[in-house]
Symmetry: C2
Subunit: 192 residues, 2 copies
Amino acid sequence: MSTREKILDTALTLFNDQGTAAVSTNHIAEAAGISPGNLYYHFRNKEEIIRALFQRLFDTWDNGLPFPHDHQPTLADLKTIIETNYQIIWQYRFAYRELVALLRQDTELRKNFLAVRQRGFNGFHELIHTFSDAGIIHLPDDPKAIHELQEIVWLISEFWLTNLEVNGRSVNKGEMQNGVKLMLRVLQPYLV
Amino acid sequence: MSTREKILDTALTLFNDQGTAAVSTNHIAEAAGISPGNLYYHFRNKEEIIRALFQRLFDTWDNGLPFPHDHQPTLADLKTIIETNYQIIWQYRFAYRELVALLRQDTELRKNFLAVRQRGFNGFHELIHTFSDAGIIHLPDDPKAIHELQEIVWLISEFWLTNLEVNGRSVNKGEMQNGVKLMLRVLQPYLV
DNA sequence: ATATTATTAGAGTAAATACTCTAGGAGCAA
DNA sequence: TTGCTCCTAGAGTATTTACTCTAATAATAT
């Protein structure tokens, strides 16, 4: 593994465990088993490390979600997508916990994040319309209502894990399933 | 205003604007127009300031929500409660943004927060059953389903404003109304 | 082999941070 | 007035933080 990757992996672990504020560049270097000078050879500063981690998250978003291409999507596909989604968020949980602060500190990062997020939101929009066309779900006529439902489901997907952490509940497969259940509960009245 | 209150008000403003990590005790003292020594006369450390602010939040929770006592609650009452709720959260938004980090740093605070929150959750539970009894809402038979619906509405109430901030949307009365709409959208299929 | 470039270690530093200490006023009680 | 407690200012400090600099070593190209 390259030194650069080692730094990023170490930083991710520490950020997830202790939060970005509590983790200094010296900590990262020490935990990665390299010198501070070496760290600063690979990254100009802490902000750049955070940016690079977000970039990895963005790449995962854009490539890592298992949208079915070879068949009409089913409800099982939806569940799989949502679960994968949770796993990604859990992997980069520091980012979600501190989202407001991190995006405020770095407007460039904010721009990129919002763009990636918008792509995801659009993809999700298409997905539910696919379900609608396939007759799996019967959406309300009012497009505003549809948009609101989508916002609700999206909100749950982004904050369910944070919610678990706040509650001090351990985050595991089962709890992620509960998150899936909540999202389906919102849609339940519209399932055919 | 007492020096103690002045410190808390100043800290709250700075925390809301810049996050707790970026605000030092020296910053607070300077912004409050007092000396660092004076600040430390009133609070042992930064953690105590945060605790005191949470305590103010707890008091607001326990006393500030406009539950109707003189009449059967209506849907309008529900809306008012939710709106007040949003205003309180907005007033202490630093706490919600950084909840995971703050509660992890201070287990005593975590304990208190979870207790207050549980009280709120129980109150909310009673409220929707009141609505059910009054025939305003027709809940599903499955108690688990009811619990899930409650969890969803609760999640929206706790994270809607954070969600707005992430999106860079300005937080104002109108956007809070949108949050109310989302919560009602979840319940809409069950309204009589 | 030699020159060049890419990595790395580690000592060092200016600034910031949380917090302490001392001395002095302000109000009040006897 | 004298004493006492409460409150306040502000200088001072040990530690930490982000980051720099230099020199040495590894890798690669010619």
